[in-house]
């Protein structure tokens, strides 16, 4: 098993937005998607996922609705709003700038 890494401060929002960009999904699905996409490297603290989801919903970036899962369970499904989509691209750009800068610093000889 690969070593898991804790998330950098502030990056959870970006990851949630990205996972919802791929399609509506419930809370556990979000954490699973992040794990899968990062090939099990990024470890979302499952407890802190929900405060983050409610916060994003609070800001109007994601929408939550109760629905039924294929197994017939009542689930809360999150979708990305238009404002959330815009926010995702803005944060993605910032992240690129940031990670590029860090990479350049580390690459310096």
């Amino acid at each position: 098993m690969l070593p898991r890494t804790d998330l950098l401060q502030g990056s959870l929002d970006l990851l949630i937005l990205k996972s919802l960009l791929l399609g509506p999904v419930h809370g556990w699905g979000v954490s699973k998607r992040i794990r899968q996409l990062s090939e099990d490297v990024l470890n979302v603290n499952q407890g802190s996922l929900y405060p983050a989801l409610y916060r994003l919903e609070d800001r109007g970036w994601i929408n939550a609705e109760w629905g039924m899962s294929p197994e017939g369970r009542k689930v809360k499904v999150y979708t990305l709003t238009t404002a959330g989509r815009e926010q995702y691209f803005a944060e993605q750009e910032q992240w690129r700038l940031f990670s590029g800068a860090v990479a350049r610093v580390l690459a310096a000889t």
Partner: protein, 885 residues
């Protein structure tokens, strides 16, 4: 976040809170199940999978709280919880909650009502469309021989860029008259206005029309009346339009009804009449075009004024039009400071009272606060908790206060007398009133909540706990709320003094006896005064004796008339007079006198003015003049001898005038006017000099109309007699109808009395409120002191102290505070009572006996309110108290 979403969330977090929490619960449990299933799919046994999922997630409850604390309206949630706790606390102490809310609500309501009154004075409802365009206007300039009064009007009529129209309102042509309709005879304010007055003001009629006929003859036979007068004269459902009113003997037809606006001088009338044909009225009201600055308008008007002057070859220097917005007529007077001060004093008394109660309660709740502090509550949290309690009370008080204020406004509306406009107008309920009430409530919250909360939170919990046990900490607390009691009493005394003095003044003024003894020297009630107009007689003098005789005999024929007399005003030549002295020498007295009165012999009998010494004037024709004067004047003119039998000249000694003998002395009397004049010119020492009318008396030639006054005495039914007199005089009068009024109306006595009664009732309300609140405050502090010192009292009783000893010991503490409060209050009264000077006599302002009495009364009231809890303390059972400790 868009507003709708925000509101939705607010609604969910406030109202649907349990649903939100249940949703979170469901979601998180679902998450745990999915996670466990995933682990199980990877081969982890069921129990282990559930354990691992739970560990990875952390506690559901904890996560829920994190999520809630993270949300936008988290603070609201905390607030809701605190408010719920507070409400529970307050419900457990209903007496405190109700008293506190009521006291604060009354105080806020008093201030809010006073604010609405002042607001209505500063921002009067004008009733006209776009009142900001309306200006009163006055022409200043030289009206030369050739420059007729119509010249400025003609210049205006040419039209201008800055103004759209102009008219004449009631500013300079206001007056009063007698209205008759059936049995009702009423004195009313009447204003003559140009025909276009209402159209320039853009006022809408409540009924009928406000545009009179274009024919001036027809227009002058019509009037517009106020809704106030209409309500008085006509029954509900009866339309005044087309009906006629008898005004000063002329029958005028009502064409419209308009609302009465007490605050606007052009519209605070009962009747608007239109000028008789040929009567010119110079314009005094102008409407500027929309958006025109007053400075621009004045510039254009001043150019017009200069052109008028130039056209007439007059000096242009002073020619100008002065404009004044009709909305800014309110002038702050000392009385308004008294009004505002009284309102603030009531509020402060209520606030200090509540602060006291909160402080006492905070100290009483020492163990609860100590527990919270021990459980880790910060000082800030304790202050917030205590503040929220005061906040809940204040919000309750604010809502109640708004209801009270609307009621107060309605009450003032129903009781406000006319003619009080310069002091108080009808209040208006507006959004400003709500804002003001809210600000007042917020300020009260700071005084009532913040100060005691900080004080209580600062106190060492240990000492608080100790104070409960009756040790030394009690004294320190006593000092703090003792200071607040002093402040309450100090604020109450001036209010009580003002209320008592004003009420006393009002009662005194409304009694006929007051006018007899203090003001005029006779009772005004049975007297009617008629002003008879003599037509102009430019070339020959008008003999007066015969006319007077016939007027008096005519009046005496009216049933119910006891007597009648004539009075004419005359001036001393050069304000001087001469007297013969004891030794026969002649002495001139310069600048001592303004005017004397020529009267018919029946004068003293008619007026009811008693002759103190000597005699009055004999009935019948007098060929030689005689004089009766008042006691003070006699004493001033002949300080060393009796005036009767001495002679004087109503001019300087060298002047060619007869020497006249003094035959009688009447009591001193100084009318308000005479007092005012005397205050201004202190050399005026000659007050009332009456000369009998002689057969040769005449009015000198004059191109103007002259007036003679007739007084008629009717012991009862004065209105009916006045009406009959008016009808009789109409036959005699030549140019204008005579004005016949009750003397009391003529001198404005009912109005003055009504104004004073109203002001007295206002301050009476303030005084009673402040007194009640202060008594409550003293009661509260002594009750608290008793409960603080239960143990001490119990020990004393156990050691054999009598109830008398206990009461005395408890009251003594309060006495010092009350005395200190009374002393400061007395000083404040001295400094502020002068604000009401115009409603009180000079004697009242320095009435040491009355102030002393009021101090004792206040002191007694306070001691009495301290006595109740002190007496209750004597009933304590020592065994029970000590066992409870």
């Amino acid at each position: 976040m868009p507003t709708t979403r925000r509101l939705k969330r607010l609604y969910r977090s406030l109202i649907r809170r349990p649903d939100v929490e249940a949703d979170m619960d469901d979601e998180m449990r679902h998450h745990l199940e999915l996670e466990a299933e995933e682990l199980m799919r990877n081969g982890v046994p069921v129990d282990e999978a559930r354990r691992q999922a739970a560990i990875a997630f952390g506690g559901v409850q904890q996560r829920k709280e994190e999520a809630i604390e993270d949300s936008t309206f988290w603070w609201l949630d905390t607030l809701r919880r605190d408010v719920r706790i507070t409400a529970r606390t307050l419900v457990r102490h209903p007496t405190f909650a109700i008293t506190a809310t009521l006291a604060l609500a009354l105080a806020i309501a008093v201030n809010t009502t006073m604010f609405s009154v002042l607001d209505a004075m500063i921002n009067p409802k004008v009733g006209a469309a776009h009142p900001e365009e309306l200006y009163s206007m006055r022409y200043f300039g030289f009206y030369g021989r050739r420059l007729g009064p119509t010249a400025p009007d003609l210049a205006l009529a040419a039209g201008g860029k800055t103004y759209s129209d102009y008219t004449t309102g009631g500013y300079y042509f206001g007056g009063s008259g007698i209205i008759e309709r059936g049995d009702l005879v009423r004195h009313a304010d009447i204003s003559t206005v140009r025909q276009n007055f209402f159209s320039v003001l853009q006022v809408s009629p409540l009924e009928g029309t406000l545009t009179p006929s274009t024919d001036p003859v027809q227009a002058s036979a019509t009037i517009v009346i106020s809704d106030r007068l209409a309500a008085e004269l006509f029954r509900a459902g009866e339309s005044p339009i087309g009906q006629s009113l008898d005004i000063d003997g002329n029958s005028l037809r009502i064409i419209g009804v308009v609302r009465y606006y007490g605050a606007v001088s052009a519209l605070n009338n009962d009747v608007w009449a239109f000028p008789a044909p040929g009567r010119y009225m110079s314009p005094n009201l102008i409407r500027l075009r929309p958006g025109v600055a007053v400075a621009d308008a004045e510039r254009e008007l001043n150019l017009l004024a200069a052109r008028v002057a130039l056209g007439e070859h007059e000096d242009t220097k002073d020619a100008r039009f002065a404009l004044k917005s009709i909305k800014t007529q309110f002038e702050v007077q000392r009385f308004h400071y008294a009004l505002i001060g009284a309102g603030i004093a009531v509020l402060l008394v209520a606030c200090t009272n509540l602060a006291n109660l909160q402080l006492a309660r905070g100290i009483g709740r020492a163990s609860e606060l100590a527990l919270r502090s021990a459980l880790g509550a910060s000082r800030k949290q304790i202050v917030v908790q205590l503040m929220i309690e005061s906040g809940v009370l204040t919000v309750g008080a604010l809502l109640l206060a708004l209801v009270f204020a609307v009621g107060g406004n309605a009450m003032i509306h129903a009781t406000i007398p006319p003619h009080i406009g310069q002091y108080v107008v009808e209040p208006q309920s507006s959004w400003r009133m709500v804002v003001f009430a809210s600000i007042t409530a917020a300020l009260s919250l700071v005084i009532v909540g913040l100060a005691p909360a900080i004080h209580v939170s600062r106190v060492d919990i240990n000492s608080l706990l100790k104070s409960r046990a009756g040790t030394g900490a009690h004294r320190a607390n006593q000092r703090t709320y003792g200071g607040l009691v002093i402040a309450q009493i100090a604020l109450t005394l001036p209010l009580v003094c003002a209320a008592v003095l004003l009420s006393r003044s009002a009662v005194r003024m409304s009694s006929p006896d007051y006018r007899m003894r203090e003001e005029y020297g006779y009772n005004t009630t049975p007297l009617i005064v008629a002003t008879v107009v003599l037509p102009p007689s430019p070339d020959v003098a008008t003999p007066i004796a015969e006319l007077s005789g016939s007027l008096i005999s005519m009046a005496r024929t009216i049933p119910g008339v006891a007597d009648a007399a004539i009075e004419l005003g005359r001036s001393f030549h050069n304000n001087s007079l001469a007297v013969d002295d004891n030794d026969g020498a002649v002495r001139d007295i310069p600048n001592a006198a303004l005017s004397y009165t020529v009267v018919s012999p029946s004068y003293f009998r008619t007026m009811g003015l008693p002759i103190e010494r000597g005699k009055g004037f004999d009935e019948g024709g007098h060929s030689e003049p005689l004089i009766v004067m008042d006691r003070g004047t006699g004493w001033f003119l002949w300080p060393r001898s009796a005036p009767i039998g001495r002679v004087m000249k109503l001019a300087e000694s060298h002047y060619d005038a007869p020497w006249i003998k003094v035959v009688g002395i009447v009591g001193d009397s100084l009318s308000e006017d005479a007092r005012d004049t005397r205050r201004m010119i202190d050399t005026l020492r000659v007050n009332n000099v009456f000369r009998v009318m002689t057969l040769t008396d005449s009015e000198p030639p004059s191109k103007y109309a002259r007036f003679i006054k007739m007084y008629v005495r009717a012991p009862k039914d004065q209105q009916r007699v006045a009406s009959a007199l008016r009808r009789k005089l109409r036959g005699i009068a030549s140019t204008r109808p005579p004005q016949v009024e009750l003397l009391e109306d003529y001198r404005g006595i009912p109005q003055r009395t009504a104004v004073l009664q109203f002001i007295a009732s206002l301050f009476g309300t303030f005084g009673v409120l402040a007194l009640g609140l202060s008594a409550l405050g003293v009661y509260g502090i002594v009750a608290q002191s008793v409960s603080d010192r239960k143990r001490e009292v119990a020990v004393r009783i156990a050691l054999g102290a009598t109830p008398r000893n206990i009461v005395r010991a408890l009251i003594r503490e309060g006495n010092v505070l009350v005395l200190a409060g009374v002393a400061i209050g007395l000083y404040m009264t001295k400094e502020t009572i002068g604000w009401l000077g115009e409603f009180l006599g000079e004697v009242d302002l320095a009435n040491a006996l009355l102030f002393g009495f009021l101090c004792i009364a206040l002191f007694s009231a306070m001691v009495l309110s301290a006595f109740v809890p002190a007496f209750r303390a004597t009933k304590l059972d020592p065994m029970e108290v000590l066992r409870a400790e």
